[in-house]
């Protein structure tokens, strides 16, 4: 078990940028190495764990919801929170004001509400911090 902690600040909303995929890959890789991970989701990124996301069929290809097996970011985040529920620990904090603006309060289990002060504390207590901004 590592005593290291990595903090990430995310800003991109789901389904907009490959940044989200890369961020989720980094979180997954870190947890598999036993590294604790903090995520501070800001602006559109608070929608990554939004529980009301629904997979859809693909009318262009004529596939059903089941055949399409469309991945949702809420499922990825929920799986990562399950992996990181104790040791290693994944702490996911959504910016509260960003959540309220977007009506995105219904998150998957384990997501916390916070603010920029939480991000500062996370960064101060971490081995390193990576900010992934929108372009």
């Amino acid at each position: 078990m590592s005593n290291k902690t990595l903090t990430l600040a995310l800003m991109d909303p789901p389904y907009e940028s490959a940044n989200s995929t890369t961020a989720l890959r980094i979180i997954s890789a870190a947890l598999k190495k036993g590294i604790n991970v903090n995520v501070f989701a800001y602006e559109g990124a608070v929608n990554l764990p939004f529980k009301d996301q629904a997979p859809h069929a693909n009318p262009v290809k004529g596939t059903t919801v089941e055949e399409e097996d469309h991945p949702t970011t809420k499922s990825f985040v929920a799986s990562l929170l399950e992996i990181g529920k104790s040791s290693p620990l994944l702490t996911w904090v959504n910016c509260g004001l960003c959540v309220d603006e977007r009506g995105a309060g219904n998150s998957v289990e384990g997501v916390k509400r916070g603010g920029p002060a939480d991000f500062l504390k996370m960064a101060q207590d971490s081995t390193n911090t990576l900010v992934i901004p929108t372009k």
Partner: protein
């Protein structure tokens, strides 16, 4: 000595500001820092041997370590044999290791 890690996700043929990474990484290396540029997403498009005017050759000559994410390469149909000399195929595990190395500053671009 500080370790600097630039994570470059931008395609230089779309965003000319990738020159920022080339110039900053080179300057940091010239000041005896350890510098790595990790190419990810569309950033790997510059890693192709046939990519004209790529800024990566300049970085390789300066002694900057150049790594390209295997997942991003695969998504774009780029084989390891097509990479410019000096660029190594790498992966997200290696990126994570670099991120948690002591005295490392990470910059996403």
């Amino acid at each position: 000595m500080t370790n600097y890690l630039f994570i470059e996700c931008r395609d230089p043929f779309e965003s000319k500001d990738t020159q920022f990474v080339a110039e900053t990484a080179t300057a940091l290396k010239q000041r005896d820092n350890e510098v790595t540029v990790f190419l990810v997403q569309n950033g790997v498009l510059a890693a192709r041997r046939n990519a004209r005017g790529s800024h990566l050759s300049q970085l390789a000559k300066a002694g900057v370590r150049l790594l390209a994410d295997d997942f991003s390469l695969r998504e774009r149909g780029i084989q390891a044999a097509e990479l410019l000399p000096g660029i190594q195929q790498s992966n997200i595990d290696a990126l994570t290791d670099i991120l948690v190395r002591e005295n490392t500053k990470a910059i996403w671009h």
